[in-house]
């Protein structure tokens, strides 16, 4: 993890295979709806990327989808697990300290946290994520290091 202080990610979302939200957290919280829309619309690109990858490669798929689409104010990144659970990360466009590799690391961390959460026998896959632990990891990730 980079030791320099950098602005946090503004929104992290976990989306189910069927494209409904399992977990969304935004900072700041007052304009949540806007981020919901941002995450939701980014699924267009995710879907397109998944379907185009599925078509022409036989080797193991790269989970990290990269920058999904740029808006004036935000950069939206995507990541898809093998079970088609999607992670979406929204960063402010002004945030230039994070490089592609840092984003990758963040997704990796998020994926690990998700897997840990999934290992809880009391969690039914497909339910909304309510794990406090998972939430703490995500919020810590979003805050400055």
């Amino acid at each position: 993890m980079a030791s320099t202080a950098h602005p946090m990610a503004v929104c992290v979302a976990v989306i189910a295979k069927e494209n409904y939200p399992l977990f969304i957290i935004t900072i700041p919280t007052e304009n949540e709806l806007k981020f919901y829309y941002t995450v939701h619309t980014s699924l267009d690109v995710v879907e397109e990327k998944i379907s185009s990858i599925g078509k022409n490669t036989t080797e193991a798929r790269e989970l990290y989808l990269g920058l999904l689409y740029p808006t004036e104010d935000y950069k939206v990144y995507g990541y898809v697990t093998n079970t088609k659970v999607k992670f979406v990360l929204v960063l402010e466009s002004t945030n230039t300290t994070l490089r592609d590799n840092d984003i990758r690391t963040m997704f990796k961390k998020l994926h690990n946290a998700y897997v840990d959460m999934l290992c809880n026998p009391f969690y039914t896959p497909g339910e909304n994520i309510t794990s406090r632990n998972f939430e703490n990891i995500v919020t810590a990730m979003m805050q400055q290091d």
Binding site: N19, P21, Y36, Y37, H40, Y69, G126
Partner: protein, 1128 residues
């Protein structure tokens, strides 16, 4: 806002050189008119890019300004004059063409020449100072001769040129002939060349000023000059050079000192340059350059808002930048550019819309000035400034601080007031709509929906609530199915407002129903308030307005509600399109029901609204509509009436939040349902009472499912809020979850109360009439009628052509046509009455078969108070194996009982059929017969069967023997014929003798050999020792020729004999020759006879072996009796 984000038409158009045509009288002269038309019509892309104007010869062109020799004391007042582009596009021509009617053979040549020269002079004068080229075109009636042949022409042309002071290259001849357009095109190409040279010169002229400029005072001029050079190059159609200079201009632009007072001017011009740069980049097929330039442009200027009080100007400008870039991008795509899902014009339109939304918000925040325009004249000339992007109250002023602070304030307020008059919604909506079209094209359905929601919001702001509602309704479905409830809730809240303001009761109620449901993200207070509004509407009162609405809109909505309420409202809401607060599940109890028992079903209802609610009627509808009225339940009390203790019977429709309630119904199926399915087609629940004026019928198709999908309902259980706690699974939710829907019940026939016994003795034997006895007994309580018996071979479909079996009822008969099913009407049977029937089956092939027997009848039964006529079926089937009753093996033997492979023609032989019984049941043979082929005869007159009346048990055999002879035939092999056995199964019951059946077997096919001679031996059956034994050999010639034969008799130890030992004789055709020997046996026993060797002289050593086979080899010789007298 046109002052801050205008892009003038002269900037947007593609610049083309201007050519002015003079001397054409297009009003009165038809020839001139056709020339003009040929220039200005059909200007397709294959023609040179020029613009033609027709002018009077004495038209006055803009004066050329005297060029400065020094810029030392010159301070520029702005970047670019508003009139400059227009002037060069439309007013200052590159070429002026003087048209003149003049033929080379003109008689008044001198005068005409003079007149022409005068015209040219006039044009020259009016173009004073401009570098415009002047050309002369002579309109001639005759086609010119090839150059050099017409001496007069060349001489006169030279004189005309010198007279008009033009070069020979600027003089053209236009013969007015049929090929006008061809000449026109050649002419305009020439003009095009001249125009290019003109614009080139103009650009050079501007460039030459550069040396006089200095960076401190003339920064603006650097931009201006580069812009002009670029523009001239564009006119010249040299877009690459043009792009280079626009780039330089843009570079100088960014170097300018920027402060609030000149920000608008800079941004306006930067916008122009950016437009040109992007446009040319797209034109040069370098879209990435265009996008990069635009990005750079936006990043540079987005934070430079200028005067804070006029921040909306910046948003308007930004919006325009995005919009025109979107337009350029879209145009490039139309010309063949490929865009991507993540890079297409839609994003730019969307951003343009977003900036316009920001502009609207800024306007609302900033333009708060109420009162009159401070100084009416402050904005005079706003649309007619000298320079682009300047303030009308301080034009030409380039200092950092405004010259007059008061005027500046007034100006800002005046602009704010102007902005306030703008209807932003109608700027935003078209932008959103363009974006929607693009996102649709580039496979981004979610983005499209998001934009449609935004459009809905804008329509809402524009007070077009109906349109807003329509748009929102279109997209809600998808958010519902994708289960994004936070978004859905926000859309629903907006559409509720729209529905309220337009007083659309149905939309209002259905939206309310969704908002108070468990998946809605509304607060509990909101839900309570909304539910109360439902109660109000359904009790025919006005609902309370939604919070946060404008008072005037609410007032007008109230009157609309009053009119809407004045007429009765009955409407249906399809619940499958909603995720509402009420859930419904329905099921039949059981998978099947019989025709005489009641169909039971249950409907389970659950509400998730905050307060209890009472429905007025519940009904279940079926695919068979006659049952529809049978499952209804009404609750006459009002929607909010509280529960009373009297209602413990469960006959009310009062539902408590979260408590599922189950209602049961039952009904008898009708006769037509038997054998079919009854299906729940829909469940309808009424809210409110139609007598009351308002009634909503909530309809679930099938057994109840909502838009979130019944099966996945469990996943949608909790609203998505990060801190929500999983609700405890109470018994109520358990009860709800365990209620499994079942929409279909099968109605089967009533169970038949009838005994049917089938008596038969398996297996069936091949070919026989197999008897099956059916015993039917009525076990019903009443008489059964319409009784019929049906017997069929079950797998008849497999061999429709050759079923291999035949069924006959009552009588064992078969007329050659196979019958695989039989139906028989039986008499009515009283309770307990028995009936016996039998049927016969004849199987033609062995194997397994199954036979279905059915008895159908109707009986009337009583269920409760209802009497029903039921149709019942009793089915029984037999699996039957057919086996062969016996095997027949046939062998052929010679008269010596030796097996033989081939027959000898005209020699007798024996046929031995042997019947071995393989049937488990004894069989009775009636007789047997042979059908012989025409070449075979019996030796006796007629064959009499030797097995008449023989009975065979399993593995017993019966055999007979026939002596046959084959005729002389030329066929090498012959089928002997068939052997037929007449038989039946042996039954003890003498009365019920089954008919005999016959089974035929083919006799073998044998080879027939022709032997030229045959030898027979006549010999007694036995001899006695020392007693004469006379023997006689008969040699028969079967050929039509004389045969010479040699005979040798071997000596034997057992016999002495008298006769020829060795002889030689001839036999005539077809006759016998007899050889007689007297044998005298010497010993007793089974003795070998002395061997007779017969040899045909003509074919030596061929016959002996064959002959030996014909002759007996041994004879039994008795010893001399010890005087025992045998009985006679």
């Amino acid at each position: 806002m046109s002052w801050a984000n205008e892009l003038p038409a002269e900037l947007l158009c593609r610049p083309t050189g201007l050519v002015v045509l003079t001397g054409l009288d297009i009003t009165y002269n038809a020839i001139h008119k056709s020339i003009w038309d040929s220039f200005c019509n059909n200007r397709r892309s294959d023609r040179v890019p020029l613009k033609f104007n027709v002018m009077e010869a004495d038209h006055v062109y803009p004066k050329s300004k005297s060029k400065r020799t020094s810029y030392q004391w010159y301070i520029p007042k702005g970047i670019l004059k508003r009139s400059w582009m227009k002037k060069h596009l439309n007013e200052v021509p590159a070429v002026v063409v003087v048209f003149f009617d003049l033929d080379w053979d003109e008689s008044l040549w001198k005068e005409k020449q003079m007149e022409c020269a005068t015209r040219v002079e006039i044009v020259r004068n009016s173009l004073q100072g401009q570098g415009t080229k002047v050309s002369v075109v002579l309109i001639q009636k005759n086609t010119p001769l090839p150059p050099g042949e017409d001496l007069i022409a060349s001489e006169r042309a030279a004189s005309l040129c010198s007279m008009c002071d033009i070069s020979a290259k600027s003089l053209y001849v236009l013969p007015h002939t049929d090929h006008l357009i061809g000449y026109t095109i050649r002419l305009e190409n020439a003009f095009y060349e001249q125009s290019q040279s003109y614009y080139h010169t103009e650009a050079r002229k501007v460039k030459s000023h550069k040396d006089f400029l200095n960076k401190t005072t003339h920064q603006l001029l650097y931009v201006r000059h580069q812009f002009k050079i670029a523009f001239f190059n564009e006119l010249k159609q040299d877009t690459h050079t043009s792009l280079k200079h626009y780039k330089q201009a843009y570079g100088y632009m960014l170097d300018l000192r920027m402060y609030d007072t000149n920000m608008l001017e800079i941004k306006t011009m930067a916008g122009f340059l950016n437009y040109k740069l992007c446009r040319l980049s797209f034109q040069h097929n370098t879209p990435l350059d265009a996008i990069a330039q635009f990005r750079k442009h936006i990043d540079f200027f987005k934070s430079r808002t200028g005067t804070p009080e006029l921040a909306f100007e910046n948003s308007a400008w930004m919006s325009k930048q995005f919009q025109v870039f979107g337009d350029l991008f879209d145009e490039a795509i139309k010309l063949g550019l490929t865009a991507l899902q993540t890079q297409h014009p839609g994003f730019y339109y969307q951003q343009a819309a977003n900036h316009s939304i920001t502009r609207k918000q800024l306007c609302q925040a900033l333009c708060t000035h109420t009162g009159d325009l401070p100084q009416n004249t402050v904005l005079d000339g706003l649309d007619n400034l000298e320079y682009f992007g300047q303030r009308p109250w301080r034009q030409g002023h380039q200092s950092i601080d405004p010259p007059d602070a008061q005027k500046e304030r007034d100006g800002i307020i005046a602009l704010q007031i102007r902005e306030k008059q703008e209807d932003h919604c109608w700027i935003i909506i078209p932008l959103l709509s363009s974006a929607v079209a693009q996102f649709k094209k580039y496979k981004s359905p979610r983005m499209k929906r998001h934009l449609m929601v935004q459009m809905g919001e804008e329509y809402f702001h524009a007070k077009d609530y109906g349109k807003a509602l329509m748009l929102l309704n279109k997209v809600m479905w998808d958010y519902r199915t994708e289960r994004w409830s936070p978004i859905l809730t926000s859309i629903l809240n907006l559409s509720l407002k729209c529905a309220y303001l337009t007083a659309r009761i149905q939309d209002y109620i259905s939206t309310c129903m969704e908002l108070i449901g468990q998946y809605s993200q509304c607060s509990i207070e909101d839900k309570s308030r909304i539910e109360k509004n439902i109660f109000k509407v359904m009790s025919n009162e006005l609902p309370d307005p939604e919070p946060g609405l404008e008072q005037t809109a609410v007032e007008s909505a109230k009157t609309q509600w009053l009119t809407a309420k004045s007429s009765p409202n009955l409407f249906t809401i399809e619940m499958s399109t909603l995720v509402s607060f009420i859930e419904c599940k329905a099921r039949f109890i059981g998978e099947t029901t019989s025709a005489d028992s009641k169909v039971k079903l249950e409907v389970c209802l659950r509400v998730s609204c905050p307060q209890p609610i009472r429905f007025s009627k519940l009904s279940v509808l079926f695919n068979n509509q006659i049952h529809n009225s049978k499952c209804e339940m009404s609750d006459g009390r009002g929607i909010t009436a509280a529960s009373s203790p009297l209602e413990a019977d469960g006959a009310d429709l009062y539902l408590l939040p979260g408590k599922p309630r189950t209602y049961s119904f039952s009904f008898l199926p009708s006769a037509e349902d038997v054998g079919r399915q009854i299906e729940i087609s829909s469940v309808a629940l009424e809210l409110g009472n139609s007598d009351n004026g308002c009634c909503a019928v909530l309809r679930w198709v099938g057994t109840g499912a909502d838009a979130s999908g019944t099966t996945s309902n469990t996943m949608f259980k909790q609203p998505i809020t990060p801190f929500s706690v999983t609700p405890v699974k109470t018994t109520d939710t358990e009860k709800w979850l365990q209620f499994k829907t079942n929409p279909i019940i099968k109605v089967v026939s009533r169970q038949a109360k009838l005994d049917m016994t089938l008596i038969h003795q398996a297996p069936s034997l091949l070919n026989e009439f197999y008897q099956v006895q059916i015993v039917i007994q009525n076990k019903e309580d009443s008489k059964i009628t319409d009784v019929s018996l049906y017997i069929a071979l079950q797998n008849e479909q497999e061999y429709p052509q050759d079923p291999g079996a035949h069924i006959s009822i009552d009588k064992a008969s078969f007329n050659g046509k196979m019958q695989v099913n039989e139906e028989l009407v039986l008499p009515d049977l009283e309770p307990g009455q028995k009936l016996e029937k039998c049927f016969f089956m004849k199987c033609f092939q062995p194997g397994a078969r199954s036979i279905l027997t059915k008895v159908k009848y109707t009986v009337s039964v009583t269920v409760g108070i209802q009497s029903l006529t039921c149709y019942c079926i009793k089915e029984e089937s037999i699996n039957l194996t057919t086996v062969s009753p016996f095997d027949v093996s046939i062998n052929l033997q010679s008269m010596k009982f030796e097996p033989m492979e081939a027959l000898h023609a005209e020699e007798p032989f024996l046929l031995n059929p042997e019947i071995s019984c393989s049937s488990p049941w004894p069989i009775e043979l009636k007789t047997s017969e042979v059908q012989l082929s025409e070449y075979i005869k019996t030796l006796s007159e007629k064959h009499e069967s030797q097995i008449v009346g023989v009975n065979l048990k399993k593995s017993e055999c019966a055999a007979e023997c026939l002596c046959l002879v084959s005729l002389a035939t030329i066929q090498p092999s012959v089928s002997l014929g068939t052997y037929t056995v007449h038989w039946r199964r042996k039954t003890d019951d003498k009365n019920k003798g089954l008919p005999f059946v016959s089974t035929s077997f083919p006799l073998p096919t044998v080879n027939i050999e022709h032997i030229p001679i045959s030898v027979g031996l006549k010999l007694p059956a036995y001899g006695s020792v020392k007693t004469l034994l006379p023997t006689c050999y008969v040699v028969k010639n079967r050929t039509p020729y004389i045969q010479e034969i040699e005979v040798n008799m071997d000596a034997s130890d057992n016999f002495m004999f008298a006769g020829n030992k060795h002889t030689h004789f001839r036999v005539l055709p077809g006759t016998d020759y007899i050889l007689k020997y007297n044998l005298f046996p010497l010993v007793a026993g089974h003795l070998a006879l002395p061997k007779l060797h017969v040899n045909m002289v003509r074919y030596p050593n061929t016959m002996d072996e064959i002959i030996q086979k014909m002759l007996p080899t041994h004879i039994f010789i008795r010893p001399i009796g010890k005087s025992i007298i045998l009985p006679a």
